[in-house]
């Protein structure tokens, strides 16, 4: 039986309550009759033999690229960059795709007698990965072979000795990248393309760049002009990265791009009910839901967080393609769309969404309020092509506990951003012009980014900018079941129940509004017609 495509359900009297993610927990909500619930397509079948598929992709590259085997030769300088801890979500069960791909690449390199090989975790301004996390992403064998010799590195966007300025694009955008990567004879970038935003020229131009370079597309203006940043042809974020990609290629940097896609089989057996449509829940799903929700009620938040963060996703590879960046990425997008695209008719007055416990920036960490905003208004809101799911001036209702909680190791500048900046203003432009520079250049944050496991000082700003498009588009944002003080600090309105939230929303959108719920999991991208 082939997987069913995405589906838009219209709620009627017989519809069972709808599942909302709610951080480290769930809520069952009865949506008003006539509301729509959007379900993503069911998981696509996985590649039968992923290793063979990888080898095949390396032998049969796309676009203007020779097979990898022929690009490798003894005495060459080879650098393999790979996506960091932010992908995939949740982290996948071993073996990780990165391990499979890099092992295949290293086999070829060994055959060719390449001995100058360096691995770089493409952190951009993300936190460094711990040894455990690297071990998980790359596998024991690679880790043990490279790490002890200092050949397993993590990109340091604040290390002047290992950055090189390649020039400016025709739009005056600086391109400053990891020196080792740029000066290699071949740079291989290994992607996990969880959503449409990932990959393409963004991989190198963002993942291996410095603040000086990133600020050209990680800013309020770019975000306002990326509609959405999940739709690369209408995304200023991507246009900028593509211009940089061109400059990188023109500078003679040879990039061999490897992209992989995943199916949406996101949660392991005990959370199977999450991925099923509620009216199809059988006894086991109900029992699973009851057991987890009851158990979670009694679990202290910190323990619940640890339990959820330990989830390793069973998702499987659905495609792998390698070669020239452009053609590879186009093929990747086809696969992503095949798994995620849902056609929806018309916009909605109110968009509801349940936000999970995880986003790209809190793996093994805490989803702080800024990340809650970013996940809902940055990621979920932007999961569209064409028109946003919610109409202009509409209302977004997000469900998340939004605790006033931070991980001081990973998010030190977030703490200060929340306490010092958001306490003053939530205005994008003002924040950008008044505070960004000070945070970005604060030596203490730079020190923590480089030596500890901290996101860069400027990172919370980017997360806030990620919300720019949504905030300029919608009329109101309501958070259900969140810490009231934290929600207010974000400039949103707290509500204790969904029905309260819907009533509050009516003040903005009028009586009898249309309501649409973006059901997650799985991840999807909507095409609103």
């Amino acid at each position: 039986m082939s997987p069913r495509p995405g589906f838009v359900l219209e709620v009627d009297r017989s519809t069972p309550p709808t599942l909302f993610w709610h951080g480290e927990g769930f809520r069952l909500e009865r949506l008003p009759v006539g509301s729509r619930v959007i379900y993503g397509p069911e998981p696509l079948p996985a590649l039968k033999d992923p290793d063979a598929a990888i080898r095949h992709a390396l032998e049969n590259p796309l676009g203007d690229s020779a097979p990898l085997r022929t690009l490798l030769s003894a005495g060459m300088k080879l650098t393999i960059a790979f996506d960091d801890i932010s992908l995939p979500l949740p982290p996948m069960q071993a073996p990780d795709i990165r391990q499979r791909v890099i092992e295949a690449v290293l086999d070829l390199a060994a055959e060719a007698g390449v001995d100058d090989v360096v691995l770089i975790a493409a952190l951009a301004l993300h936190r460094r990965m711990t040894d455990d996390e690297l071990r998980h992403a790359l596998g024991e064998r690679i880790f043990n072979a490279f790490a002890p010799h200092g050949l397993l590195t993590q990109h340091d966007a604040e290390d002047p000795s290992n950055l090189i300025h390649l020039g400016q694009t025709d739009h005056g955008e600086d391109v400053e990248l990891n020196k080792r990567a740029v000066e290699s004879d071949l740079l291989i970038y290994v992607n996990i393309n969880l959503v449409a935003m990932d990959g393409g020229h963004k991989s190198v131009a963002t993942g291996l760049a410095s603040y000086k370079s990133l600020r050209h597309h990680h800013n309020v203006q770019t975000m306002l002009n990326s509609r959405s940043f999940m739709d690369r042809h209408h995304s200023e974020l991507h246009h900028s990265n593509w211009r940089m990609g061109k400059l990188i290629a023109d500078s003679g940097v040879k990039v061999f791009q490897i992209e992989t896609t995943l199916n949406s089989d996101t949660f392991p057996e005990q959370f199977r009910f999450l991925q099923r449509r509620e009216w199809e829940w059988n006894l086991r799903d109900r029992a699973g839901f009851l057991a987890s929700s009851k158990a979670l009620e009694r679990t202290p938040p910190e323990l619940a967080r640890r339990i959820f963060q330990s989830i390793k996703s069973p998702h499987q590879m659905t495609s792998v393609q390698a070669g020239e960046v452009g053609p590879v990425h186009d093929r990747t997008l086809e696969h992503v769309h095949q798994q995620q695209l849902v056609h929806v008719e018309g916009q909605t007055d109110i968009l509801t969404m349940g936000l999970p416990y995880i986003c790209p920036y809190n793996v093994n960490s805490i989803m702080n309020p800024i990340l809650v905003a970013c996940l809902g208004l940055g990621y979920f809101f932007n999961l569209y092509e064409g028109k946003p799911l919610v109409r202009e001036g509409g209302v977004v209702i997000m469900s998340h506990p939004t605790p006033w909680a931070f991980n001081p190791v990973h998010h030190p500048s977030y703490v200060d951003f929340f306490e010092q900046v958001l306490a003053e203003t939530t205005d994008m432009a003002e924040i950008e012009s008044k505070y960004e520079e000070a945070f970005a250049t604060d030596p203490w944050y730079i020190h923590l980014y480089r030596t500890s496991y901290a996101y860069h000082g400027v990172h919370p700003f980017y997360m806030w900018y990620w919300c720019a498009h949504a905030l300029s588009h919608v009329g109101k944002v309501i958070v259900v079941g969140g810490d009231r003080a934290a929600v207010r600090r974000l400039g949103f309105s707290p509500a204790s129940t969904l029905s309260d939230a819907l009533e509050m929303a009516e003040d903005v959108v009028g009586r009898d509004p249309s309501i649409t719920h973006l059901h997650s999991p799985p991840l999807m991208i909507t095409n609103v017609v």
Binding site: D131, E302, F406, N407, P408, P412, A438, S452
Partner: protein, 784 residues
């Protein structure tokens, strides 16, 4: 009789005690209402200010002279220059300590108004004796000495005393010389002087008894904790001095009561009159005895008052809800007289000149002629504060208690019990290891105890005044008043009958008291910056600063034992980890006790555990220690504060007993880090410190040294610390800040107006109960 101004025109009038409440009013009235006279004020030079400087600051600039300033406009300065002369003098010294020039000037005076006195009712006996008892005698002697050989007539000495010299009995107290008061026990004043002086040295000797010294030291320790020898000693000495003073206060009070006076003030004043009568020689003397002098009725303006006097603290304590009982009988008389009436009396007496038949007495009091009933005063006060409540720190109005009229014994009993209860609670809580906001509860308790103690003091001191049953006759004063012409009667009114008590209490006195008390009279947020807010501003000023930080519990909630536990468990198997941690836990109390006793010894002994540890590995581990443990326990507000200082261009300094490689990750925050460093041989630590971090007083010296190095002064130094063991360091800084203070430090900080910061860990940060290193992958394979 000629008009007052005319008779005093061309006269030179000396005034003692001119910087006091009454003295300032006398000087002002002379300058304003007697245009032809010249005023010489006898002022005691301050430690840093000359007599002239004090005169300018404390008399000329006082708001008392505002009216004159307004009336004269540009001519004010010239007028003052021509008519007001300051000479340095001290009534507690023989010969008044006058210089030759000043003595000549003093000798040329026609009238000397002696109003200098120690009006404090709780002054130590010897001080009161020197000023109140011997003062008038000294003034008379100085007059005689200066006058000798000048051929001028002796000036008229108008000695201001108090009606209460005559108060120890019921019924009429007449305006007669103290020597004629039959019912007063009259001890020999010379014997009393000798006894008071001896009492000082006796008390001093008694305060040095070993038991007592030990008691002072204990108290000092319990207040300051482990603040170091120098500070403890300093405090101990302060306690000793305080004890001597307290003994003399107590002695004064009991000696006075034993002889029938309400307090040492009235007692010494009374003996002072007697001594003056005996020693005055030919100096013509007139006594003016006011009762309780309070704010002015109309001159220079209604409600003018200077200093916080007798009734004011009681009234304010009542309005703040702190004093709910005050003894007194409703029908009793509170003998109050507005200051301008007293001043007018004195000037009229001066103008009249001495009585040819010898010294006379003028009393100026209200009780006999126009009594203010205690019941009325209480009712008016309650009504006024109900209508104009004071506000508490949260901007809520304070409801004044309904005042009963209990007996003195009952009130004292209640207050004593309250003080005892509060100090017991305080002692118990002080033993608990609380800090931060909870510690402030203890400080609150201390505040309340101090308030109760103060209330008790008021009751003991002033209780008698609300219960006075003597009626001070004012017949001679009224006679004098009635002899004046209509014009003078209006300009120099001193008939107590003119006072409408209703009006005076409600419209004159209470508004003035409240204005002077600097209390909150409006709801909502305070607009005036508090002392704490001002210091906070000074801490983060754009001026150059040295900001010194302590580490443990100031910036990070961790300690050397925990960091050791983490480092010791990082490279060992799980079973072994458990052993290390269990052992450390078992040792906990002993380590804690050692740390409390002497920080330096504790560190020396504890760091021996690092003997033989691989130095380089620990240095690498130090970096991980930050991410795995310390960052979770760091106070983000604290770290932000350090960076704030740096952003302002301030120098930052960390002083800690922690090991250098442990605090290395904090390097970018500080210009300098002073930490412990272990010796190293062949790549292994020796377990002995080669650089020992300073503790106690040594920290203070270090702070001064660094301030010097940066070219900064003490006033430009900020220090952040959490415990009394850091007290020397905090005191070495002009801008100390108590961070998450333990109870003792919280109390000290509250008292001294130091800013208090509550810095906590990151909200919602993962908690780590035991400081055990996260299991490293390195254990499972070889990563070094």
């Amino acid at each position: 009789m000629p008009v007052i101004a005319e008779s005093l025109a061309g006269k030179r009038i000396a005034v003692t005690g001119a910087t006091g409440f009454l003295g300032t009013a006398i000087v002002e009235r002379l300058l304003r209402s007697v245009p032809g006279c010249e005023v010489v004020v006898l002022v005691r030079p301050g430690q840093r200010q000359s007599a002239a400087e004090r005169t300018r600051r404390e008399i000329v600039r006082n708001d008392c002279l505002d009216r004159l300033r307004r009336e004269l406009g540009d001519g004010f300065d010239t007028e003052i220059e021509h008519r007001l002369t300051a000479i340095a003098g001290d009534v507690s010294r023989d010969g008044l300590g006058l210089s030759d020039d000043d003595r000549t000037l003093f000798a040329s005076c026609d009238i000397v108004i002696h109003s200098a006195a120690t009006v404090s009712f709780d002054a130590p006996l010897d001080g009161a004796v020197e000023v109140n008892l011997l003062g008038p005698t000294r003034v008379a002697e100085a007059i005689r000495a200066a006058n000798q050989g000048t051929g001028r007539p002796l000036p008229h000495l108008v000695a201001v005393s108090t009606a209460y010299v005559n108060s120890g009995h019921k019924g009429d107290a007449a305006e007669e010389l103290i020597t004629k008061a039959r019912w007063l026990a009259m001890p020999d004043w010379k014997a009393e002087v000798a006894a008071a002086r001896r009492a000082r040295s006796d008390a001093d000797a008694a305060s040095r008894h070993p038991d007592r010294l030990e008691e002072f030291r204990q108290r000092s320790r319990s207040e300051l904790g482990a603040a170091g020898t120098a500070l403890i000693a300093d405090r101990t000495e302060k306690f000793r001095n305080q004890w001597v003073t307290d003994s003399l206060v107590e002695l004064g009070r009991s000696r006075a009561r034993a002889l029938g006076w309400p307090d040492a003030y009235a007692f010494t004043k009374s003996l002072g009159e007697r001594a003056l009568l005996e020693t005055r020689g030919d100096v013509p003397v007139t006594f003016v005895r006011p009762s309780i002098v309070e704010s002015s009725l109309s001159e220079p303006r209604p409600g003018w008052i200077r200093g916080f006097r007798m009734a004011e603290p009681v009234i304010i304590s009542y309005a703040r809800g702190l004093l709910s009982q005050f003894p007194g009988v409703p029908e009793g008389t509170v003998d109050v007289v507005p200051v301008d009436l007293v001043v007018a009396t004195i000037i009229a007496v001066a103008a009249k000149g001495p009585d040819d038949e010898g010294p006379t007495v003028f009393q100026i009091a209200s009780g006999a002629r126009n009594p203010l009933r205690y019941g009325l005063l209480v009712n008016l006060t309650q009504a006024w504060f109900t209508e104009h409540p004071l506000y508490d720190s949260r901007g809520q109005p304070i409801v004044v208690p309904k005042w009963g009229f209990p007996g003195r014994g009952k009130v004292q009993g209640q207050l004593r019990r309250a003080v005892k209860l509060l100090s017991t609670a305080e002692k118990v809580l002080n033993q608990l290891p609380v800090r931060g906001e909870r510690a402030e509860v203890v400080a609150d308790l201390e505040d309340r105890r101090i308030q109760a103690e103060r209330a008790l003091d008021y009751v003991e001191l002033y209780g008698a005044y609300a219960e006075t049953e003597a009626r001070f006759r004012v017949d001679r004063t009224i006679e004098l008043f009635e002899s004046l012409d209509a014009n003078d009667r209006e300009r120099f009114c001193f008939d107590p009958a003119v006072v409408d008590w209703h009006h005076y209490v409600l419209n004159v006195h209470l508004p003035s008291v409240v204005e002077h008390a600097r209390v909150r009279t409006h709801p909502g947020k305070r607009t005036l910056a508090t002392r704490e807010e001002r210091s906070k501003k000074a801490v983060l000023s754009k001026e150059p600063r040295l900001a010194v930080f302590d580490l443990e519990n100031t910036l990070i909630a961790s300690n050397v034992v925990e960091t050791y536990a983490w480092l010791a468990t990082r490279h060992v198997e799980p079973k072994e980890r458990a052993r290390v941690v269990t052992e450390l836990l078992a040792e906990g109390p002993r380590l804690l006790a050692l740390d409390r006793r002497d920080r330096g010894d504790f560190l020396r002994s504890f760091y021996r555990r690092y003997d033989g540890a691989p130095a380089n590995r620990l240095r690498i581990d130090g970096v991980e220690l930050w991410s795995d443990l310390l960052a979770l326990r760091a106070f983000p507000d604290g770290l932000a504060r350090v960076r704030q200082h740096r952003a302002l261009g301030h120098h930052t300094l960390l002083i800690t007993g922690a090991l250098d490689f442990v605090v290395e990750p904090l390097r970018p925050l500080f210009d300098e880090i002073v930490a412990a460093r272990l010796g190293e041989i062949d790549g292994r630590f020796t377990g002995e410190m080669v650089t020992a971090p300073p503790t106690g007083e040594a920290r203070a010296l270090l702070v001064e040294e660094y301030a010097d190095r940066f070219g900064l002064t003490k006033a430009e130094t900020v220090a952040y610390a959490d415990s009394t063991s850091d007290l020397p360091m905090l005191e070495a800084a002009g801008l100390p800040v108590a961070v998450n203070p333990e109870a003792k430090l919280a109390a000290i900080a509250r008292r001294r107006g130091w800013p208090i910061e509550h810095w906590g860990r990151t909200k919602g940060a993962p908690r780590r109960q035991l400081a055990v290193a996260t299991l490293r992958p390195g254990l499972r394979s070889s990563v070094s």
